[in-house]
Amino acid sequence: MAKIIDDETMENVCLLAKLSLEGEEREAARAEMQKMLTYVEKLDQLDTEGTEPLSHIFGSENVFREDEIVNGNQKDAMLFHAPRTKDGQYHVPKTIG
């Protein structure tokens, strides 16, 4: 049986994901997450005894770049996508600390 997503888990997930879900929205998200967990739980039926955990599927290693500057000033293009900017910087809600 998959882990039940209780209120406490919901609270923690919202905190970590910086989401403020209330009422129906919150219930819907909880139900969807529960479904995902139940789906993924199927993996537990497999026998993984002696199987190494896999982190990368392509088997490549040591993909490097040399330490050379190839990017110039792309400030305008970069900031173009930002909803709001000021003095060449991204304008975001006030952070704490």
């Binding site: 392509f58 290693e61 040591n62 040399e66 000033n73 400030k75 991204y90 975001v92």
Partner: protein, 480 residues
């Protein structure tokens, strides 16, 4: 009151001296206009692909090997997930499961003697962007120039027991990194940052207390103050029978106190997982061997060599090797002047004096070794007096002046011209008939007066020996 012991471990972030960022070809140069060193990779645009800078691995290996670490020959990057505007990807690429180096040690020296501090691990990671608060609009502004700048984080074991040991450990790390050319380690510019983990326990009890982590320490002074304040704060709590809470605290240097960061700032659940964008790094035996073979001479070896080969004192060798940059300047100058002892005397004297007088850093000293070497030779060859050489050196130190040209243009060279010496001598004698008759009458004290007068006329450009000689000659002549 009970006796307490302070137990300290450090997490030190060191910014690597690469030209480009860890995963993209943007410049790492300090102090550019906001967001001028950014691209889709370091600004966290969806779909951008990070590619590892080989030099970062090289530097991490150099640091790890110098600190006697084991190398994880298969190492990997992991994503550390958190949401904050300084982190545009919403995860920081770091190493949790297979850090590049682990289980090393470095030796520190304090008034109590030598001690080994164990290194738990060193891992590679990327720096975050910079947030500034905008008072006018009460919002935050983000500059991603620092985002993606390569760092190594060096995590020590909790082996330190005092602020003195902590400072000694940091000094040692800083010196080591500078010698390796891995980082310039400037606390003020943030290229070296230390977080302090501290707990107190009753001396001899062997039961460790709960630790706190202190952030925002920007100078050695702040670190020392923060350690002392946190030790007192924890002891006070324990004495009142209250528990120490495990938390992250932020040091405020102006208030000289710390406050607990809110739990939202301190979400400890980072949900690390291997970064699928970055293939694992396999570090071969050959690679490690090559790094070992090319490690530069570190401070301890240099110090020993200065004593053994150059015949310097223990004290001079210690002082001259404090800064890797100054040691390199010294060596080059000594090589060119062919006179290590005189060169050492100049560095111990004038170079350090001017550094202190100008309040500058040894790393910023930038005169050409050939200019000081030439000046040293000129003194030896009696082409300039030691007193004038010091004046010339100030110009070498300030503007990297060529000493030969300077001495010529300013007439500071020792007068080789016998006629000139004679002319000045006759002038001085004629202007001081009173003292002259005293001198000829055998009053020895007046001799010094005439030497002084002549040196003044010649603006110090004559050798005192030559002046004395000419004067003695004159006396003998007049006595005859």
């Amino acid at each position: 009151m009970k006796q307490y012991e302070t137990v300290i471990g450090l997490e030190v972030h060191i910014e690597l001296a690469t030209k480009t960022k860890i995963f993209c070809g943007c410049s790492t140069e300090f102090g550019g206009e906001p967001n001028t060193h950014t691209c889709p990779v370091c600004a966290g645009m969806p779909g951008a692909l990070p590619v590892l800078n080989r030099q970062v691995v090289e530097f991490a290996l150099k640091a790890g090997i110098a600190a006697n670490c084991q190398i994880n020959q298969l190492c990997r990057f992991d994503r550390k997930n958190y949401f904050y505007p300084d982190n545009p990807q919403n995860y920081q690429i770091s190493q949790l499961y297979l850090p590049v180096c682990h289980d090393g040690w470095i030796e520190i020296e304090t008034s109590a003697g030598k001690k080994k501090i164990r290194i738990h691990e060193m891992h590679m990671e990327e720096d975050a962007g910079k947030l500034i608060h905008d008072e006018w609009e009460d919002c935050s502004l983000v500059d991603y120039n620092r985002s993606g700048v390569p760092l190594i984080e060096i995590v020590s074991e909790p082996d330190m027991r005092s602020a003195e040991e902590v400072i000694s450990y940091l000094d040692k790390l800083r010196c080591m990194m500078q010698y390796l050319g891995v980082s310039d380690c400037k606390l003020q510019e943030g290229s070296m940052r230390a977080d302090v983990n501290l707990s107190v326990c009753e001396a001899g009890s062997g039961v460790w207390g709960t630790r706190t982590e202190m952030k925002n320490l920007n100078s050695f002074k702040a670190i020392t103050r923060a350690i002392e304040a946190e030790r007192e704060r924890q002891i006070e709590l324990l004495e009142m029978g209250k528990p120490v809470i495990q938390e992250t605290r932020r040091w405020d240097d102006n208030k000289e106190s710390s406050r607990a960061m809110r739990s939202k700032e301190d979400a400890r659940d980072y949900r690390y997982f291997p970064d699928p964008d970055l293939p694992p790094v396999h570090i071969s035996d050959e690679w490690i061997q090559r790094i070992r073979n090319t490690q530069p001479e570190l401070r301890e070896e240099k110090q020993q060599r200065y004593q053994d080969e150059l015949g310097l004192s223990d004290y001079d060798a210690r002082v001259l090797t404090e800064s890797a940059h100054l040691a390199a300047l010294f060596e080059k100058t000594a090589e060119l002047s062919q006179n290590p002892k005189k060169t050492a005397a100049w560095f111990m004297g004038e170079v350090l004096r001017l550094i202190k007088e100008y309040g500058t850093e040894p790393e910023k000293v930038c005169f050409s070794p050939k200019h000081l070497a030439r000046l040293i030779c000129m003194v030896e060859e009696k082409k300039v007096s030691p007193a004038n050489a010091k004046k010339v050196f100030e110009h070498i130190f300030d503007e990297d002046t060529d000493p030969e040209a300077f001495v010529r243009e300013h007439g500071l060279g020792i007068v080789q011209d016998a006629d000139l010496l004679q002319r000045v001598l006759q002038k001085v004698l004629a202007e001081n008939p009173g003292p002259l008759s005293e001198l000829l009458g055998g009053k020895e004290k007046v001799f010094g007066f005439f030497v002084g007068q002549m040196m003044r006329e010649l603006k110090g450009t004559a050798s005192p020996e030559a002046v004395r000689e000419a004067l003695m000659e004159e006396i003998k002549k007049n006595r005859r």
